[in-house]
Amino acid sequence: MISRVADHCFWMGRYLERVESTSRVLRVTSSLVLDAILPPEQVWTSALAVSGEEKPFAERHGAAAVGDGFRVTEFLTWDPDVPSSLARSLQAARENARSIREVVSLEAWEAINELHVWLNDGSGRREWAVRPDAFYRQVRTGTQLILGAVEHTMLHDNAFDFIMLGVFLERVGQTARILDVHHHALMQLPPDLVREETLWLSLLRACAGFEPFMKRKAGRVTPGEVATFLILEQRFPRSLVFCLQEADQRLASIRSPGDEAFPPLRCQARLAALATFLASRRVPDEDLHALLTRVVDETAAICGELHEELFQAPQRAWSNGRVERPRAEA
């Protein structure tokens, strides 16, 4: 597989996951703010913090605007200068897909392109202004349709592995940040509010984890149970452990452990180590913020290794004159 193509696949997966996650967070937050016990400033600050856009937002609109849901959602949805805005992320997903049109199946491409057209020809914008809830729902289902088409109409070859690797590594970061931001904010509340169930349930909803959690925990909603579930639940497809294990399997399918002709990858070793480390934690007793920060940082480092080892390294090593090439095929 061509290195540049692998790179585009990976980023297409990452951006698609980011779009889905952002649409879910904004929808859940918009709903929570309607009847939350918390002041709107606090609710919207959390949404900005998950995207890492607290400071840029304050610089643009002033810190006082943080309670203005319209401003915040417009910023995180449409702003072309905000790298993590929904519109920018979808644009980037499509640009990556367009660069590898010969790899992405026609049905997956049509699904991406139709969402792109809807978001850019004015119809998406009108829906957003009138029925934001329906808008975020449509973005979410549109993204799910794309990933469904990817899974069910593409060859399950390395291109597919890289797309899913991107999806799961992005999801690790998303779940970790959503949990970190909300957990931190909720634990600052006065004791009688900390146990307020609606807040923890909306945290679960932001990770699509409400129903799975209820099934698993039979309705026992405590801060410790929620955190344990989002980090360690083996069967929940958005938990950190699940995502890391999936990512690990994708890498193993890209480079099978017994492959002599393909040197072992540092990113693979690092990913496996992170999954093992996390699985061994006793979550409710940990310093959650430290643990989640470590997961986010380590995941970013793994992505950096991927970039160097698979997407970029060959270019650097081979392009300047003759070099010995132990891995050359005939």
């Binding site: 597989m1 061509i2 290195s3 540049r4 193509v5 692998a6 640009e95 367009r98 660069s99 590898i100 049109r101 010969e102 026609l106 491409w109 049509e110 392109n113 139709e114 057209v117 390395n158 890209i254 002709a261 393909f262 698979l310 997407f311 060959p314 270019q315 081979w318 392009s319 003759r322 090439r325 132990p326 891995r327 050359a328 095929e329 005939a330």
Partner: protein, 492 residues
């Protein structure tokens, strides 16, 4: 009795209001009985409202599928759809078989010519073509002389532009032997016809075109330096911002091969490799959709970062096939075009089957004098420009434009040719502004694949249409659109 009642009851056919242009051949009215009946049947049972809806569906489908070309004017690269008119251009089986033979003959002669020019230059010895016309062409690359490409093929893919004059005679307007584009629209337009005009399409009995990608892959593999089974074939694109990127990715996808950019490739020991996640992998055939100038900085542009250093050495050594071969531009140079009939006589010993457009070469004193005297009637073209740029359309030009061209022709006569303006044929075309059908001018680009086993012509092609009323310019960059071209199966 019944018939009369039906006629009164149904709304007047859209075609009853159709008036062809005086002086131009009309593809519908000038056509045979069977063909006219096909189109009339297609339009008879539909109102213009219904047709407008079908037409809108076609455009929405293209937009949703991202069947677009990029427009450079904007830094972010705006994508536009290439407008399509669903009313097809139809070519009868008899007409087609004549065209097909003429195209094969022409491509064989052009192939022989390029081979000769980069080898012994026999045709120049005989004087059939003036030496300076060929060797003075900016498209002639002396550095390539003496190189024999893998399997000896150079014009793997060609698009020969044809127009039809006032008498209905097909004439070659120009040859495209470098990186002809547009075939993806032929295949996409056909999908629309089958989806949206299913009944009329079935009734017409049209020859299929969807075998093109498989034929292209086979032709490209046939010139590989290794066996077809061991061959790694790639499509080389300048990237997603190129205006024809959709087509590059389309062909790669349809052939099931990888689409690469120059930065993915490198040459080592005169062999070509692609960077993969598992390290370098050997490449044997490149269907390149980049211009000669951006192939190899070693040969063409020492200052350029574009291209693959050493690619031409690898090609010259026979280690990789490039399709089309570099240097083909010498044969589709507009200054060389007037001599193609001579090539056919010289290399094949045959008379040309296809007509051309009479051409005045400003390099010849006699021709130049005539051109300068008749600028207001002629179309003047720069020999090395494409896409409808750098032209003087005499009949619609201003006195200042003519004065400017007179100055340019006198300064560099070799760069200019002139032709009488041909009354391009017209085809019934949907006009959205008027919600009606009106005659619009068309040209036609059939595609020819050449391989070790000889030329093959795709039974179909790209019909481009000048959508603006009165326009002769069919280029997509200047208000042109396209139509599906239906080549009919023979009778029985």
């Amino acid at each position: 009795m019944h018939r009369a009642v039906a006629e009164i009851a149904s709304p007047p056919s859209m075609l009853s209001m159709y008036h062809p242009l005086p002086g131009a051949f009309d593809e519908l009215l000038g056509a045979g009985e069977r063909l006219r009946a096909t189109v009339e049947a297609m339009l008879a049972d539909g109102s213009s409202e219904e047709f407008a809806r079908t037409q809108a569906l076609a455009e929405a489908a293209l937009l949703n599928q991202g069947v677009t070309f990029s427009v450079y004017s904007d830094s972010r690269g705006v994508e536009k759809i290439f407008p399509v008119c669903l009313l097809p251009r139809i070519i009868s089986a008899v007409e087609w078989s004549r065209l097909e033979r003429g195209l094969q003959q022409r491509v064989l002669a052009l192939e022989a010519f390029v081979t000769d020019v980069y080898a012994d230059q026999r045709i120049l010895e005989t004087g059939a073509i003036p030496r300076e016309v060929v060797l003075g062409s900016a498209q002639y690359l002396p550095a390539l002389r003496g190189i024999r490409p893998p399997a000896g093929v150079r014009i793997h893919v060609s698009g020969i532009d044809l127009i039809r004059d006032g008498a209905g005679v097909f004439r070659v307007l120009e040859d495209n032997l470098r990186t002809p584009s547009g075939v993806s629209y032929v295949l996409e337009n056909r999908l629309l016809s089958k989806r949206l005009l299913a009944r009329a399409f079935a009734a017409a009995r049209v020859r299929p075109v969807n075998q093109y990608p498989a034929r292209l892959a086979a032709a490209l593999r046939s010139v590989s330096p290794v066996s077809p089974e061991e061959t790694t074939l790639v499509v080389l694109t300048p990237g997603p911002y190129n205006s024809a990127y959709f087509e590059h990715s389309f062909l790669a996808r349809q052939m099931g091969v990888e689409l690469v950019e120059a930065a993915d490739l490198f040459v080592d020991d005169d062999r070509l490799f692609v960077h993969t996640i598992r390290g370098p992998k050997r490449v044997h055939v490149v269907y390149r959709r980049t211009d000669d100038a951006f192939l190899d900085p070693e040969v063409f542009r020492p200052d350029s970062m574009l291209g693959v250093r050493g690619l031409l050495r690898a090609w010259a050594r026979g280690n990789v096939a490039l399709a089309n071969a570099p240097g083909n531009g010498v044969a589709d140079d507009k200054g060389v075009y007037p001599f193609v009939p001579e090539m056919i006589r010289f290399y094949l010993g045959e008379e040309p089957l296809l007509e051309q457009v009479p051409t005045y070469r400003c390099a010849r004193a006699e021709d130049r004098a005539y051109v300068l005297e008749h600028l207001a009637e002629l179309v003047v073209k720069v020999v090395d420009e494409a896409g409808g740029y750098g032209m003087l359309m005499g009949p619609t030009s201003t006195a200042e434009e003519r004065a400017e061209f007179r100055r340019r022709i006198l300064a560099e006569p070799r760069r200019y040719i002139a032709q009488p303006r041909v009354e391009l044929s017209t085809c019934p075309t949907w006009v959205p502004q008027g919600q009606c059908i009106a005659p619009r001018r068309v040209d036609f680009r059939p595609y020819v694949l050449n391989s070790a086993t000889g030329p093959w012509v795709l039974p179909g092609g790209l019909t481009r249409v000048a959508l603006r009323e009165g326009s002769y310019v069919v280029n997509s960059s200047q208000g042109g659109g396209s139509k599906d071209t239906w080549v009919l199966k023979g009778e029985g």
